[in-house]
Amino acid sequence: MRSEHGARRLALVLLLAATAASLLPSVYMVDISLRDSTESFAPVLFAPHPTLANYAAVLATGGLGRFFLNSVIVSTGSVALTLVAAICLSFAIARLKIRGGRVILLAVLSALLLPLASLLIPITVLLKHLALTNTYLGLIGPFAALGIPFATVILKEAMEAIPDELEEAATIDGASSLTLLVRIITPLIRSALIVVAVWQFLFSWNEFFLALVIMTQDAMKPLPLAPLYYEGPYMTDPGKLFAILTLIAIIPMIFYAVLQRWFVGGLMAGGVKG
């Protein structure tokens, strides 16, 4: 029992060290954002005279709200579209057992392997023909297409795990396949849906390059492009630049901290028995 106690204590120490290392860059970022211009280049973790002046200046200039709004719209839209498309596709493969389902799945999965840089030009050409450049849909569409492989794998597995008896009972009651999907299947795979939703949200929230070439109007740009936007004006003022960076980073952190219970719960519940 003594060694058990010692092991637990050692585990805690190791975990605290790993967590500190993991948090250190973020702490450093926040600290630089609290420095005035005379201290911004001190090679220390905590500068001696913290100030909130940078935040006051940055928030007074404004403009960040628009980036946030765009990111929220694009990320939410991409989650919704991904879920709808992936639920339907997984249903067709997992429950309707459509012919060629395995081929479709493999084809969709190969999309995971595509280098993003090679997608930029063809996608912008296509969006121009669809008149979707500088529209939310112009980012939501490609994001959803890129998110569908991962989503389909998870949802298909979750749907396959549902016992046939439930489905049979519903079919005997005369329910159509759509009713079955909406009323029976979807509620049963709730935890898998949450996993897909959180993952897709994070991907859409952080994506940088498609956003760069598709959202060329300032008013449409999402958050990952904001640092580029502020790098010029705050060129000689790192404190203000890091205040912007902190604001950009902190929101999704809070978002995740609040939602992680459901995300992790979804992962834990999602047919992990192997």
Partner: protein, 431 residues
């Protein structure tokens, strides 16, 4: 279906409403660039809009690489804005198929003899790389620049240095003094290929100006003895500890500019655009430039003279064929082009000392402090005789930067590096 119809009806009604009010609404001209910096561009746009209440300017300013990525994608998809900012040479040529010829527009704006308003060197650069026989202009310069080294007067004073170094050995000695006094002696943002190339070119202008200029224009002369000599001096910047440790990962912007503005750096290679800090910064040493002075790359041998001036077009503007989508936009775009180069737009840029005006006769509207005026006037004089400072071919440009970095890192000899550049340049010239 019903919902779709309803939405379609709404959409149609909205569209009709838009067309009905279109006559009264201002015309919007879209403009993208990497320069001038965003706050300056915003002020320029506001000034032009004030002069022309019927015109709206939708301006997007992005950092260099992001901007060129965005217009590349926009070119491929045919979504270029009405006006694009361009450096002369390779970039302008890359977009030439999508650009309107500007000679007739220029004649409309400034009269048939419009070319007299620009220094001949700037006009030559603006047409750099045109196919044989094509004498049209596809970009017209708004701002010009001169390359040079800057030094911090305060840092020099603290290190006990009276004047900027007159030769290379003095440069090495001054850097050591600055380092001892706690400064970064000579900051080089070696991670930024542009500034590696520009420092090398300032050296090569001293060792072999003729071949440098030929090489800029695409000639494969990078292995000439004078060019190799320049590469050897570049190597010494690292082996004799002139540039700071870790220079190859450092960025000229934002880091180098940051550190120089914060007074941590003794010397740095920038150019005439450093004057824009007078308006971007709240630091008094920058607001009047009283804390800073300029000089050219020092003589390589004692008693020699410093590098000849390199400079030319900083940014010019091209009108894309997309601007012709409606007569109203086309007309407004021409007006904006004129205002950007010789009107309200350039006046704002000049008043913020964003860089040097390309259009003759433009003057800052408020009097400059004596030190600032001296700097500005010298620049204007130097610009008149500056040698071009742009490498036309982007592949050669990248190859040169990578090989200079390899020399700096000690993984290639100057000989091997220049031969590598020569090989690529020859292949490009043959293409």
């Amino acid at each position: 279906m019903l919902r779709f119809l309803r939405e379609a009806a709404f959409g149609l009604a909205g569209w009709l409403a838009l067309t009905a009010t279109a006559a009264a609404a201002p015309v919007t001209v879209t403009l993208w660039s990497w320069s001038p910096v965003a706050p300056t561009m915003a002020a320029m746009a506001a000034a032009i809009e004030k002069a022309h209440p019927d015109i709206r300017i939708d301006a997007t300013i992005q950092p260099h690489t992001a901007y060129f990525t965005a217009i590349k994608a926009a070119q491929a998809s045919g979504t270029l804005p009405d006006l694009i900012g361009l450096p002369p040479g390779a970039y302008t040529q890359e977009y030439r198929p999508d650009l309107e010829p500007l000679d007739a527009i220029a004649a409309d704006s400034w009269g048939a003899d419009w070319q007299k308003n620009f220094a001949p060197a700037l006009l030559t650069q603006a047409r750099l790389g045109n196919p044989k026989g094509d004498t049209q202009f596809y970009m017209l310069p708004q701002e010009a620049e001169v390359l040079n080294l800057w030094y911090s007067r305060a840092a020099f004073a603290r290190a006990g240095i009276a004047a900027p170094p007159a030769n290379f050995d003095e440069l090495v000695a001054d850097v050591a003094k600055l380092r001892k006094a706690g400064f970064i002696g000579f900051y080089q943002g070696g991670g930024t290929g542009l500034f590696d190339n520009w420092v090398f070119m300032q050296i090569a202008a001293q060792t072999d100006l003729a071949d440098l200029l030929a090489a800029e224009n695409g000639a494969a002369v990078w292995d000439k003895p004078g060019m190799l000599a320049a590469a050897k001096v570049w190597e010494q910047l690292f082996t004799r500890r002139v540039v700071q440790p870790g220079a190859l990962s450092a960025l000229q912007y934002p880091t180098g500019a940051n550190l120089f503005a914060a007074g941590r750096v003794g010397m740095i290679s920038l150019g005439s655009w450093w004057l824009q800090e007078t308006h971007l910064s709240t630091n008094p040493a920058l607001a009047t430039m009283s804390g800073y002075g300029k000089f050219f790359f020092p003589a390589l041998r004692e008693g020699g003279s410093a590098s000849p001036t390199l400079g030319g077009v900083d940014i010019g503007w091209g009108i894309t064929k997309n601007a012709a989508k409606s007569p109203a936009v086309e007309a407004a775009t021409k007006i904006v082009l004129k205002e950007l180069i010789s009107g309200a737009g350039e006046q704002v840029a000049l008043d913020q000392l964003n860089d040097l005006p390309a259009f003759n006769g433009m003057q800052p509207s408020a009097p400059l402090s004596p030190h600032l005026k001296a700097l500005y006037d010298t620049y204007i004089q130097e610009l008149a005789t500056a040698n071009p400072h742009q490498i036309g071919n982007p592949v050669v440009f990248n190859t040169l930067a990578a090989n200079l970095q390899a020399v700096g890192a000690g993984t290639k000899t100057p000989e091997a590096a220049m031969q590598a550049v020569q090989k690529v340049a020859a292949a490009q010239a043959a293409n």
